[in-house]
């Protein structure tokens, strides 16, 4: 499958990480390690701290205490654009990362910036069933399709680590199946995957390990 060009995965580590948003404590002394090539589901109620924890991998949230590393890179010493060379992050809200005037331009932006060929973007669009939308403005598309476009953009960068925040929220069975198939290709290629999700069908299909957060602490870490 030509679209599933992948980089070998990298290991991830949070060491004694804490964070708060003013009075609200969102993460408390979290230590967690994820091995290179693992596919892990991050579970927990709304507000448990899942998104905050994963945003730290990109340096988008800097922990108030503790350290975060991606492979041999300490995130605190890197800018988010540097982290983007290793970590592909699909935000929970697609509109936070769509900016180009066409779907193709949007999905091609990341690979082009990393010096990768544009045809990879076209292949990923086809893989996700978006080849009929390449010339469309992303904002003319329904919300679930916009989200699929953001996933295509992240996949096209062929990162070593994929962080997907609610990647199938709002998806029907057909769209979910496309995402699961795309993730299977990348997992079998050795990419490290973290999926923050309430979609248990997705979690069952792609993650052997589940980590559960509750009120900013890891309360369960299990392997099926």
């Amino acid at each position: 499958m030509s679209a599933a060009q992948v980089s070998a995965g990298l290991d991830l580590r949070w060491d004694a990480v804490s964070h708060d948003y003013g009075a609200a404590n969102v993460l408390s002394d979290v230590t967690l390690a994820i091995g290179a090539g693992e596919s892990v589901a991050l579970l927990g109620h709304n507000g448990a701290g899942k998104t905050t924890l994963t945003r730290m991998l990109m340096g988008l949230v800097r922990p108030k205490a503790g350290t975060v590393s991606v492979g041999d890179w300490l995130v605190a010493k890197r800018r988010p654009d540097q982290m983007a060379q290793r970590v592909g992050y699909a935000f929970q809200h697609a509109d936070q990362q769509l900016f180009a005037r066409t779907v193709l331009a949007d999905v091609s932006f990341g690979p082009q910036r990393l010096g990768r060929p544009v045809h990879r973007a076209i292949e990923v669009l086809a893989e996700l069933g978006l080849d009929g939308f390449t010339g469309r403005h992303p904002y003319d598309l329904p919300a679930p399709v916009r989200k699929l476009v953001t996933l295509a953009g992240v996949f096209a960068m062929e990162p070593a680590v994929l962080v997907l925040d609610e990647p199938t929220a709002g998806f029907d069975r057909g769209l979910r199946a496309l995402v699961i198939a795309a993730l299977h290709r990348r997992i079998s290629g050795g990419v490290t995957v973290i999926a923050v999700s309430h979609d248990l069908k997705l979690v069952d299909a792609v993650s052997k390990r589940s980590v559960t957060l509750e009120q900013g602490r890891v309360v369960a870490d299990s392997i099926r």
């Binding site: 009075a23 709304n46 507000g47 929970q92 809200h93 509109d95 057909g174």
Partner: protein
């Protein structure tokens, strides 16, 4: 269409500005007080557009043109978009102020606003977030706050586009239960979602769209096929 209908569409078609295709085609339906109507269909089938037209947000706010019959007797429609983060005012530093913004714009008395906001934050299970900055909320927390804001406007017609997409399963069940309660208070509720199993559990009726056309209007079970 029934005289009591909050919204009635008669052979209605809708086209967005600049588009050559119809987002809705030949749609005939009505929404009445007290019912939860599930709207189902693949992405692009017209479910979001149906909500926008039913609340008179289209073409008024988004452009486009309607053909056919549309009558809206609802006087206080309220909508929750599939992109709830776009509904934050950007002016409020706390969740409480955010939810109070709508009722305050209607110049309700201060005590009435406090009561309304407190009630809706409680019903949505987000009262503990009332002093938080809305910009720091998680996706699921924000989605519930926006639903609370929509309810604080005391709508007679409540339109929701996949309102539980980012909620954990328990919160999603609670939200759909709340939609049923809201309908029982005399509100017409129109909810579009791909989560047809959860929607069908509380809906009194389901409308299924395909390429902008109604292919089912009846039993909720009809959406599960």
């Amino acid at each position: 269409m029934p005289v009591s209908a909050l919204v009635g569409m008669e052979a209605l078609s809708f086209r967005y500005a600049g588009s050559t295709t119809y987002a809705l085609s030949d749609v005939t339906l009505s929404v009445e007080r007290g019912e939860v109507v599930l709207v189902a269909g693949r992405p692009g089938s017209g479910t979001s557009t149906l909500l926008l037209v039913a609340g008179a947000y289209a073409p008024r706010l988004v452009g486009g043109a309607i053909e056919g019959g549309l009558s809206i007797s609802a006087s206080r429609p309220s909508i929750v978009f599939a992109t709830p983060w776009t509904q934050l005012t950007g002016l409020c530093r706390t969740v409480f102020a955010e939810v109070a913004f709508g009722p305050a714009s209607h110049a309700l008395p201060r005590e009435r606003i406090r009561a309304l906001v407190g009630l809706q934050l409680e019903r949505l299970g987000v009262a503990h977030l009332s002093t938080r900055d809305p910009a720091t909320l998680s996706g699921g927390e924000l989605q519930r706050v926006i639903v609370a804001a929509a309810l604080a406007l005391e709508p007679d017609l409540l339109l929701l586009d996949d309102p539980a997409a980012e909620l954990d399963p328990a919160a999603a069940d609670a939200l759909y239960g709340l939609l049923k309660e809201t309908a029982a208070e005399g509100v017409g509720v129109l909810v579009a979602t791909p989560d047809v199993e959860r929607g069908a559990r509380v809906a009194s009726r389901a409308i299924v769209l395909e390429a902008g056309r109604v292919i089912h209007d009846g039993e909720p079970a009809g959406a599960l096929a």
